[in-house]
């Protein structure tokens, strides 16, 4: 398999860079990007962490051999920072044109003259160069040890995805006929984007199960499914395609002896297998990678690295903590979904019902800044049931929370729609990017704008943001 090289960049950085490179003067401009490095199964991914614009006449001057160049002291300063922070050094400039771009022979010669020394300076990290046109980018990336890769694509991550390549890519039409009715909305290009996309779904319970059905029927091409549970009789009303047979209901019935119930629980269908069945029925060609485990496993994080989107449909705060770190460290957008039903324990009266669809991107919606991860809940989930009982000083209820398929469908459907319009790039630039809460008791929707805290270890500039492999993920050993 050909080794691919990808660059991910937050939208705000891309907009700042584009404004600097293309101010309307038709001239060339320069900058440096410092990026994290992520080794994935399909090749290296560079995660743009910071952008330094080269000042005209000071850092970016007329060249000795080419038209313009970055001055050596500017290069050395940025490269030393990359060495100290273990980041990839990327020199940036622009050319004319619009939808295609390539390095000039003078550019390539300058790489061959300068990059070997630069590699020595950054001590073990790659160095490279990017050349931009308004709708294209090419890259020449040099790795320690002599490997040299061209950049396959730049993924601009934010409320709306944008892909830049060296030249326009020919899209395979594929199953356009089968998807005719939806192709009429987003075109064969949109369908090809869906077929080429890879998504992770964490949690295959009430919400995750519906998501699987929706995304498979949309034509998403690759799935990473993560869930440690098997189907239980109480799940059957909420899981797509689940039957009593999947739950081994006749064996796990309370009237059976414990040894038989235990056997039934062991024979029940894994939720990852049930979801694969649902995907295969909708789309035979889809690739499905299953992880019958919790999210906090190195192999799960590894599988998520080259995903385009992460759906968090698991309840726990440990999963929330890790999900938030993955979004920010690897620059993969995602969404967290859930339903909350509050019932008065005394009277049984329903106090509140709300569904949540919370987009989380490197630029907006950080779950730490928005108090969506509780350190007390993290604690409770990290100790045994016996310990929880032993340190409890008020009566608390450990029984499962209420869950209803129609409520799950609200957040699953919103999340799948958000993904569809994000990945195809159809969402409006000014679209609302915050959390949408459904309030079925009042038949209203609430739109919640996310906050951004200072000094956040995930979304703050001093933390794990775009660090790639060079920061330890929380809760994973």
């Amino acid at each position: 398999m050909k080794t691919r090289c990808e660059l991910r960049m937050p939208r705000s950085m891309y907009e700042e860079l584009a404004a600097h490179l293309f101010p309307g003067d038709g001239d060339e401009h320069g900058a440096v990007i410092q990026a994290g490095l992520l080794q994935t199964r399909s090749g290296p991914v560079l995660t743009a962490r910071s952008l330094v614009l080269a000042e005209e006449g000071k850092d970016w001057v007329p060249g000795n051999r080419g038209y313009r160049m970055l001055l050596a002291p500017f290069i050395a300063k940025q490269a030393r920072l990359c060495r100290d922070e273990k980041l990839v050094y990327l020199a940036v400039h622009n050319h004319g044109g619009n939808d295609s771009v390539a390095f000039s022979s003078v550019d390539i010669e300058s790489h061959e003259r300068g990059f070997p020394a630069l590699l020595d300076l950054v001590e073990g990290m790659p160095v490279g160069s990017l050349v931009f046109a308004p709708n294209a980018v090419a890259g020449d990336i040099w790795f320690p040890g002599g490997e040299r890769l061209t950049l396959d694509r730049l993924v601009v991550v934010g409320a709306k995805r944008k892909i830049l390549r060296p030249r326009p890519e020919r899209m395979a039409v594929g199953d356009a006929g089968r998807f005719d009715r939806q192709v009429r909305l987003f075109g064969v290009e949109g369908q090809a984007i869906l077929a080429g996309s890879r998504v992770a779904i964490i949690g295959l319970g009430g919400v995750g199960s519906l998501l699987v059905e929706l995304l498979a029927r949309l034509g998403v091409g690759q799935f990473v499914l993560v869930d440690p549970d098997r189907v239980d009789p109480t799940n059957v009303p909420r899981l797509v395609d689940a039957t009593s047979w999947d739950a081994m209901a006749w064996l796990v019935d309370k009237r059976r002896p414990e040894w038989l119930r235990k056997l039934g629980r062991r024979l029940a269908t894994k939720k990852v297998d049930l979801s694969r069945r649902v995907i295969r029925r909708a789309n035979r060609k889809a690739c499905v990678e299953r992880h019958f485990s919790v999210m906090e496993k190195p192999e799960v994080a590894e599988a998520i690295k080259d995903c385009d989107y992460i759906f968090l449909a698991a309840d726990g705060h440990r999963a929330r903590r890790l999900f938030n770190a993955l979004v920010h460290q690897y620059l993969i957008p995602g969404v967290q979904m859930g339903t909350r039903i509050q019932v008065d324990p005394e009277t049984g009266a329903v106090i509140d019902v709300h569904t949540t669809t919370r987009p989380v991107t490197p630029a907006k919606g950080c779950m730490l800044c928005n108090q969506a991860v509780s350190q007390a809940r993290l604690r409770d989930e990290s100790i045994s049931q016996e310990m929880r009982a032993g340190q409890r000083y008020v009566d608390e209820d450990d029984s499962p929370a209420p869950s209803v398929i129609t409520l799950n469908a609200l957040s699953a459907s919103q999340a799948a729609d958000d993904f569809l319009f994000y990945i195809t790039g159809l969402v409006n630039d000014d679209a609302f990017g915050g959390t949408i809460q459904g309030r079925p008791l009042k038949r209203t929707l609430r739109f919640v704008d996310p906050r951004r805290g200072k000094g956040c270890p995930d979304c703050g500039s001093g933390g794990r943001l775009a660090r790639g492999d060079n920061a330890r993920l929380p809760l994973i050993e």
């Binding site: 007390a376 032993g390 805290g453």
Partner: protein, 136 residues
């Protein structure tokens, strides 16, 4: 033990280098910690106490609580203990190999500041709880 737990224990050992400090690793990667002879100033009748707590495998991401101290803890002026100081408890909260349960007073102080994500190390949390106790 998980790396976060090991790091937290190293920090505790450095701070309480003069005091007996015992570690009881748990199978899930966490550890029970027991520190003896921690000085207790006013307002308590006792001069020292032992302090016990559990570091979970989520350390340092989670909130370290509760803490357990000697079972006869009492105020010097005769005031009764009141929540979040709870008498009649045991440390550790569940059966732990090598660490027999002992009677204890439990201090259940959760991290209250939810407006920002503060990663407070178990040492800092312990010191802040001890300070809070002496201000009762």
């Amino acid at each position: 033990m998980r790396a976060g737990v090991t790091a937290a224990i190293a920090e505790l050992r450095e701070q309480f280098a003069q005091l007996p400090l015992h570690i009881y690793p748990s199978p899930c990667g966490g550890a029970h910690v027991l520190i003896e002879d921690i000085p207790l100033d006013a307002p308590f009748a006792q001069e020292t106490t032992w302090v016990g707590f559990f570091l979970s495998n989520a350390c340092p991401e989670d909130d370290t609580y509760p803490f357990w101290v000697r079972p006869d803890l009492s105020f010097a002026d005769g005031r009764a203990l009141s929540p979040p100081i709870h008498g009649g408890n045991h440390f550790p909260a569940a059966d732990t190999p090598g660490l027999p349960q002992r009677p204890a007073v439990m201090i259940s102080r959760r991290q209250r500041n939810q407006s920002v994500w503060i990663q407070e190390s178990p040492l800092l949390k312990l010191l802040s709880v001890m300070k809070w106790m002496t201000e009762r």
